[in-house]
């Protein structure tokens, strides 16, 4: 009898909590498709939950956190020092959860003969030191570098991780979206660029990369990324205020649960390894 009572109280409470907890997620367009899928299946499992997901960019999400217009900020980069200082000035502290990983593939035009590059070569290409494919073992062809816009978390990550914090050459072409990078690389013979692993299509070809000075070259795939042998992977984050942790925790926990991680793989991102 007693257990029944507690059970019903728990159910009533969770229902009540479910009704009141309408959550908003805002931020990175990279995380957006994943978060949408997660939210959909979470809402299917918890009929009372209401989650809305909107994009706009990592920066938009984090400033929305500051303004209090979102509960969770999605981000494809780590929170910046300036943003942290702003939040702490406002008396808010944030919690960070890594919900998935994304592998970046370096892609070229399928007609390109080059199949593999080292990190050092990539750095030289993206900083503009190497300007012709013949310098890295290809045809005599001008290298055309495509990159994401500087606002993109992908841009920052590639700069930190592959170029060791050096700046891109100013002649780099920046494209507003992954789709247009693929379109452009597919129709430009000397092109090189980077896209999320999930976006690699037959119009472009992914290169093998080596982060140990040319000893091992690894092609990007779900297996190599999961096994951590592929070197260009980045974490995707949720940020939320510690003050609302109780409300958002169930959803965040769902995202990193086994069930949530299954969705990660379906969307094309790399699940967290246990």
């Amino acid at each position: 009898m007693k257990t029944m009572k507690t059970k019903s109280i728990v159910i009533a409470l969770s229902l009540y909590a479910g009704v009141t907890v309408a959550q908003k997620l805002k931020g990175s367009d990279t995380v957006l498709p994943l978060a949408q899928k997660e939210a959909e299946s979470y809402m299917k499992a918890n009929k009372s939950a209401k989650i809305t997901v909107t994009g706009g960019g990592s920066g938009v999400g984090i400033s929305a956190l500051l303004d209090g217009t979102t509960d969770i900020a999605m981000s494809s980069r780590k929170i910046k020092m300036t943003e942290k200082i702003k939040l702490s000035d406002a008396g808010k502290s944030t919690k960070e959860t890594i919900i998935a990983q994304d592998a970046l593939a370096v892609v070229v035009n399928p007609a390109n003969k080059v199949t593999q590059l080292t990190r050092e070569q990539l750095e030289d290409i993206f900083t503009g030191k190497v300007k012709n494919w013949k310098e890295v073992g290809g045809d005599d062809l001008t290298i055309v570098v495509y990159s994401r816009e500087s606002s993109s978390g992908t841009y920052e990550f590639f700069k930190e991780h592959v170029m060791k914090n050096k700046n891109y050459a100013s002649s780099v072409l920046s494209m507003p979206a992954t789709g247009s990078i693929i379109q452009s690389i597919g129709q430009t013979k000397g092109a090189i660029g980077y896209v999320g692993f999930a976006y690699v299509e037959k119009e472009v070809r992914a290169l093998k990369v080596s982060f140990d000075k040319g000893k091992n070259f690894v092609a990007p795939s779900m297996v190599t990324a999961k096994g951590k042998s592929y070197p260009i992977i980045r974490p995707l984050y949720y940020y939320y205020l510690s003050s609302v942790e109780k409300n958002v925790k169930p959803f965040v926990d769902y995202c990193i649960s086994a069930e949530g991680q299954k969705i990660v793989e379906q969307v094309g991102y790399i699940p967290l390894s246990k």
């Binding site: 920066g59 020092m81 092109a191």
Partner: protein, 401 residues
Amino acid sequence: MNPFFKKFSEKFIEGLLMISGTVTSLTVVLIVFFLFKEGISVFNKKAVEEGYVIAVNKSNKVNSISPEDIKNIFDQKITSWKDLGGKDSIILFRLEDISTYFTDEQIGENFERLPACISRVVDSIPQIFAFFPEKYMDKNFKGKEIEAGKISFNTFFGGKEWFPTAQPAAQLGAKPLILGTLWVSLGAILLALPLGLAAAIYMSEIAKDKVRRVMKPLIELLAGIPSVVYGFFGLVVIVPAIQKLFNLPVGETGLAGSIILGIMALPTIITISEDAMRNTPRSMKEASLALGASKWQTICRVVIPHSISGITAAAILGIGRAIGETMAVLMVTGNAAVIPHSILEPMRTIPATIAAELGEAPNGGVHYKALFALGCILFVMTLVINLTVEFITGSKKYKKH
């Protein structure tokens, strides 16, 4: 109806109209005020990222480094203090590098001894160039903090590099962006004006009424196509075509943007200049024909001169459309922030820059303010254009009467 009531309702409607007029103008004024307030505050902001400091050893003679040199040091293009008036090679130090000098134990679990550690590193290596968060600066810091100066009017308008997210010092040179905007718009108008004028002359003077009735709505339909569609069309069709035609390494060029913008400006140019031409009094045309002038002579010598103010207005409004257009340009011009030397190079325009970067710029930071300053530049450009239209159409009317 009661005359009193009639009077009252008239007054009421007048008041309502007045209020909506005032509210609209007030909104415009407020938007402009907000734009300039945000934009102008970029000047006098520190060039080094907020919350960070750069510091060198006490013995170093260098006292201030320009933001450009800071970037070059971090890109390892400058590797010696000699280039900056000091001596010896530069040793870079970032916060992450602390682990090569100290163990985790020495730093402390919660980084409580980190400030002291940084201070010791900076003090012990004479060639060091350190960049770290301000909150890890020791109270009795033994190094020397470096001034990087503030963002000035000159560096903003004259700077050649646009790296708003470069660490530790953002490079905010708007020159490539301003030039890119002007090049693309100029190219657009050079393409659109002859074509638009020809179409307008054809439609107003030569075409039969039946043809005209089909053509006009078709051209107006061109104005209704969303700009993203234009952009996509440009990326898939025009960009590869340009690449093949001129045998370029890359097809995303200013020219691609110009062509797309030219097509987008056509409806404006055609409809306005056609209206102007059709407003030529019938009597004038008939007088010209009666004097023995041919149809073409009449168009050249009578219709065009008479409607020149309308044609100018059409051209300028077309430019206005081209300068402010965002999405289509963002997709086809390649957006490389370099100072262009020819229209066959990738370019970056101001609207594209704002649209692409505002989403991720930390609210209130230097980058954010710089984008507003770009908005101000764009506003001034379009304002000048609109004033020119006013001036030209206005002065013509004045002369006529």
